[in-house]
Amino acid sequence: MKGTKISQHVFRGILATICVCSLIFFTGTPSLAGPEVVKIGNIIPLSGPSASVGQQGKQAREMAVEEINAAGGIKSLGGAKLEMLYADSESKPEKGVAEAERFINTEGVHVLTGCWNSAVTYPTTAVAERYGIPFVVPVSVADKITEQGFKTVFRIAAKDSWWTRDQFAFLADMEKEFNTKVKKLAFVYENGDWGKGFAGQWKELAKKGGYEVVLDEPYPSTATDLSPVVQKIRRAKPDVLMLVSNAADAILLTNTLAEYKVKLKAIIASGGGHADPSFLKAAGKNARYIFDIVEWETDVNKPGAKEANAKYKAKYGENLTGEAVDAYLATYVLKDALERAGSLDPAKIREALATTNLRSGPGMIVGYSAVEFDKTGQNEHAALVIVQINDIGSGMERITVWPKEARRAGYTPVFPMP
């Protein structure tokens, strides 16, 4: 091996960098002395396939923290400010676990939040439980997360069994309201944890509701061409199509459905990909009349909702989404709990969280009335809304249609699809 000058230098450079990095890394970052600070560790996907959603969660949290800190921080802790630390889970469970360990042990966070991907949330909450650090889950719908018997997990969003239950309740309501009978259902879903979970519940609910399932089609979320799936849908001739999709496939599926001129009475999506801001932009007209179920929508009839959305839009260029709102609310729930706890002791924070009864405040822009956690850490009041995508004069938008009380004034949902 001829050691050319360049290669030697490059080699030494790399070696030196690695040594320096390891040194800094192992000696840790110097902590700042000063007024008390509440450290919150947030483990979310900032790269990889869920990067878009992760970004939304981060932005929402930042907005909440700015507001809280500007308003004086946590008064019962002497005006302590909230400090958000973010870690990229890359949607991988082992990274989530590693970051949780690091946050708890090296950074000394007082609370954790995260992780969006249910597969990452399971083991990460286990880490928090072991150390007794409270973990607030804004959105991660898998039922199991609050059913592990952990004492430190608190989930804001509804469980996925509630989502599916509401989707069917909505369908039944629509049938009644518009005097249209629905008999045949088609289930098309991404073949991951989320999709399969929903599909399993749908099958149960369909049986109970007396519907006929004409198609049960899991598909790979990374598919490059969904025409065969669409063809199957066409062939099965369902009345209503129910979907669980991530962003890329939601767009592809919607466009392909439009291309093949598939005629259905209704399409009900399950949030996620369909709620992603890119979806509406990319699918455009093809998304018209699709129903989607989400935690929240921009036209929810709650004080402060419009203002919060306008502020977020001005800052980040897009509307708040369900995920973002849950993250925003989660931050306010934390603030409320911290105020009541009056201490940075994790056990006290945990106690305060368990006794949360938040009914007002900037965070409560969600469609439901309160945040209260039951014994398993699930927010009992979490509710969902169904929106319809339609253009009523100012471009394609998402309009809340269900429950009826939440429906946007003056709008009648279009059912069945013309």
């Binding site: 091996m1 050691g3 360049i6 290669s7 030697q8 490059v10 080699f11 790399i14 070696l15 690695i18 990095c21 390891s22 890394f25 192992f26 900032l46 790269s47 990067a51 992760g54 970004q55 981060k58 630390l85 973010y86 870690a87 990229d88 890359e90 991988k92 469970p93 082992e94 990274k95 676990v97 590693a98 970051e99 360990e101 690091r102 708890i104 042990n105 090296t106 597969a119 399971y122 083991p123 286990a126 072991r130 199991k144 592990q148 073949n191 991951g192 944890d193 399969k196 979970g197 899991p218």
Partner: protein
């Protein structure tokens, strides 16, 4: 002669020193985070060293080893969750299963040339992942498809390979690592190692000399897959959650192979060195940049890969070994007249 013995003594004593430091570290380093990082580091060093048996000694480029990690992890987890069998036993079962699969894979693929072999292993790895993702039940065994399997943290203890603190895990993986390195050392000095080396460089010549190259490669593959599966069980017991995308992923297969290649495959120290140098880079850049500039850590990782391959294609162990030898010779100057 006396001088030579001292040089050897120096090597052995420095090895012992490293051993003492690594075994004694948990007594000094209390923070669970650092232990966690070190455990993962040793795990990767273990994985790359096991990979080395095929990828380094046999001279081929297997890019599907994550499949064996998955086989190990799933075997022990299913046996534990459904039948209450201790993961130690499950580990062995997983290892044997992996070895069998490894031989099945190796039989047809070893006949292929480099690039084809690599692609075939990728196909196997991905094929196994797709199957596990789509199957919920394999006979009586619950694989749970993409939802993965979770091990409830009850009944901790040595029999169940589950602990609440990091230290036991640390020692287990360290012992495993030392064992693999020792095994690699002995193989490299044995006839098998010699045959593998010959078979890797000039298979036709070796075969003409009566070396059953194919059989040697298969033996190496079986060993490699067995050992890799053991790591799978360890990982499952360490993180208590497994699912196909994380355990049987192409990323993992690539990472193992690349760390070994960058460290220097075919050598004993290479894979370990690679893990030692690259894991911190990957973790460090994710920690410090992951939140602010998403994806930057992967850019850094990719750049390191490119640079190292351009300037040190035999792996970083080569210049480092030179430095090590220079140091050795400087401490113990050459005796006059010998060597």
């Amino acid at each position: 002669m006396g001088e030579q013995m001292t040089r050897q003594n120096l090597q052995i004593s420095s090895l012992l020193l490293v051993g003492i430091i690594t075994f004694g570290l948990p007594l000094v380093l209390r923070s669970p985070t650092y232990l966690h990082i070190l455990i993962l580091l040793y795990l990767y060093a273990y994985l790359t060293s096991s990979w080395n048996l095929v990828g380094g000694f046999a001279g081929v480029l297997p890019l599907g080893h994550a499949a064996f990690v998955g086989i190990g992890a799933y075997s022990s987890t299913i046996l534990y969750l459904q039948y209450g069998i201790s993961p130690w036993l499950g580990m062995i079962v997983g290892g044997i299963l992996a070895a069998i699969v490894g031989i099945i894979i190796g039989l047809p693929t070893f006949k292929m040339r480099g690039a084809y072999f690599a692609l075939a292993t990728i196909a196997f790895g991905e094929g196994i992942r797709v199957m596990v993702e789509n199957i919920d039940y394999l006979g009586p065994f619950n694989l749970n498809g993409p939802r993965g399997l979770q091990i409830p943290p009850r009944n901790v203890g040595l029999t169940n390979l589950m602990f609440t603190t990091k230290e036991p895990y640390y020692y287990i993986i360290l012992i495993m690592l030392v064992a693999v390195l020792a095994l690699t050392y002995f193989i490299s000095r044995s006839k098998l190692g010699y045959y593998l080396n010959a078979g890797g460089e000039e298979p036709e010549a070796a075969m003409s000399l009566g070396v059953n190259v194919a059989r040697c490669k298969l033996i190496a593959m079986a060993m490699s897959s067995f050992l890799t599966a053991l790591a799978g069980t360890f990982y499952a017991q360490f993180t208590l959650f497994i699912h196909p995308k994380s355990i049987i992923s192409l990323d993992l297969s690539f990472e193992i192979a690349f760390i070994a290649l960058i460290g220097g495959r075919g050598s004993i120290a290479g894979p370990v060195l690679g893990a030692l140098l690259l894991r911190p880079v990957s973790d460090f850049s994710r920690i410090y940049f992951g939140a602010t500039l998403p994806g930057l850590h992967l850019i850094i990782f990719g750049t390191v890969l490119v640079l190292v391959m351009i300037y040190q294609p035999r792996g970083l162990q080569e210049p480092l070994t030179r430095v090590y030898h220079k140091l050795l010779y400087r401490l113990i100057p050459e005796p006059a007249g010998t060597e």
